[in-house]
Symmetry: C2
Subunit: 271 residues, 2 copies
């Protein structure tokens, strides 16, 4: 464990074969008031990673199914490694509170540094001015109840319409992002990060949305530094919407692709 | 059960609490020679659906993790319903052969007919001539080993470059698709269908690829008739690539969004 916020707040303790305990802190809470789903997924990954052989250190694909809202307090993690193959190891982790499963996470792991094969990149990273020429929307101030904003820094090329009551009607944003404490992203932390920014549907005038399911492909180990992010929603259907999230590292490489299905919050979270 | 190919070949028989048996047939095999991953996922969904209350009849999100190639022959299905909420029920199913897990499927179910909420669609369905003015690439002939082509019909607006040895270098295709036997698609069969067409990377001159993980969002119940499909790959990195798959129904509604991570096959399948 390092001294970083993320590493400390996702730490788990062994408590029997495949079983761990952890603590959901109040330091990663999102607009709907509860702990951010990506943060809970991070705790699941820490537990599952502890069971996976060190020959497969990096998450490759991670899926989180969010069954109930998480709450601040103790959590139980139950893991199972289902197969360890030559290239890929696959398992699942369940985060439970009060004996009820809140998050079901499935993930496979590989050695991203050992991948060899064709590379053909047909998309472009976000075109952003350098972070120091971009806007810090909060001016470094905390926002009541929105503690996740203290854990990450965001830099926008211009003030998004939704922040000033004029949603653009184009649910697409590009911005920089990194951990506030200077910890560089690694493959494990990329999965939580695709759920850690303001949803693109805010630009449709929506208040908020709650993640039903989130899948992330980790495509490479990120270079140190700021991450360039692009978030897009194209289809809101009967109150549900997808959100696609790309993360590009400071060297211009795509390092994560996330897609989630979320439900617009016209009523409190919970399914 | 109906008399359709899909319903017959994905049927499962109860064999104890949460446990089912099924048969992987040789009628849905793909280019790499083995049973198509989407087909195996369909068997998983049939077993899990049998455990989910009828109040939640439709898959909403489905994830399949492919741990080993499937083989033609008997299969065991182990299911677990983890939570049944008011709106959404979530569970998992594992397909094993010779006591080894080949597919881990997680899915949640809802009543798609009961969804209410905002609809804002910012994408367009594929612009295709009517199916009867499109090309049947096989001319109704079977292809050796590629039995899945007998189960589905595909209609292309023009002959894709990869079929005549001139890949377009643009890994994107649009085409019509339906079951050959006239069965209309339903929400459960949309999940297998996003894995049932030729991969877009064939237009990059690749031979084939093997699905590592596949997630599908079912966005609506499909209207009867032909389905308009769009498949796109943008990022091939170190031999892995994502593939995005949209299915639009005959009424012009988006009914499924799939994304998979797959590995290019320069060697035989298996991880």
């Amino acid at each position: 464990m390092t001294g970083s916020d993320f590493d400390r707040d996702t730490a788990v303790e062994p408590a029997g074969p495949g079983h761990y305990t952890g603590t959901v802190t109040d330091r990663w809470s999102a607009l709907a008031g509860g702990p951010n789903g990506g943060y809970l997924l991070g705790i699941c990954l820490r537990a599952l990673r502890a069971e996976i052989p060190d020959s497969h250190p990096d998450p490759l694909v991670v899926s989180g199914y969010f069954l109930r809202p998480g709450t601040v307090g103790p959590a139980e993690l139950d893991t199972e490694v289902i197969r360890t193959g030559r290239r890929i190891a696959t398992g699942e982790a369940r985060l439970s509170q009060d004996s009820r499963c809140a998050v079901l996470a499935v993930a496979n792991f590989t050695d991203l540094g050992a991948l060899r094969g064709r590379t053909t990149v047909l998309g472009e990273p976000p075109k952003l001015p350098p972070p120091e020429h971009c806007l810090d929307l909060t001016g470094g101030q905390s926002l009541p109840g929105l503690t996740i904003v203290d854990r990450y820094q965001y830099r926008f090329p211009e003030r998004p319409g939704w922040t000033v009551g004029r949603p653009s009607r184009e649910p697409r944003m590009e911005f920089w992002m990194r951990f506030s404490d200077g910890r560089d992203a690694d493959p494990l932390s990329l999965a939580p990060m695709v759920d850690a920014a303001a949803p693109a549907v805010l630009e449709l005038g929506e208040f908020s949305s709650s993640t039903v399911e989130l899948t992330v492909h980790v495509r490479a180990r990120p270079a140190p530094g700021w991450l360039a992010c692009r978030v897009v929603t194209r289809y809101v259907i009967d109150g549900y919407h997808e959100e696609d999230f790309e993360i590009w590292d400071s060297a211009g490489a795509l390092v994560a692709q996330g897609r989630q299905l979320a439900i617009l919050l016209s009523e409190p979270p919970g399914t």
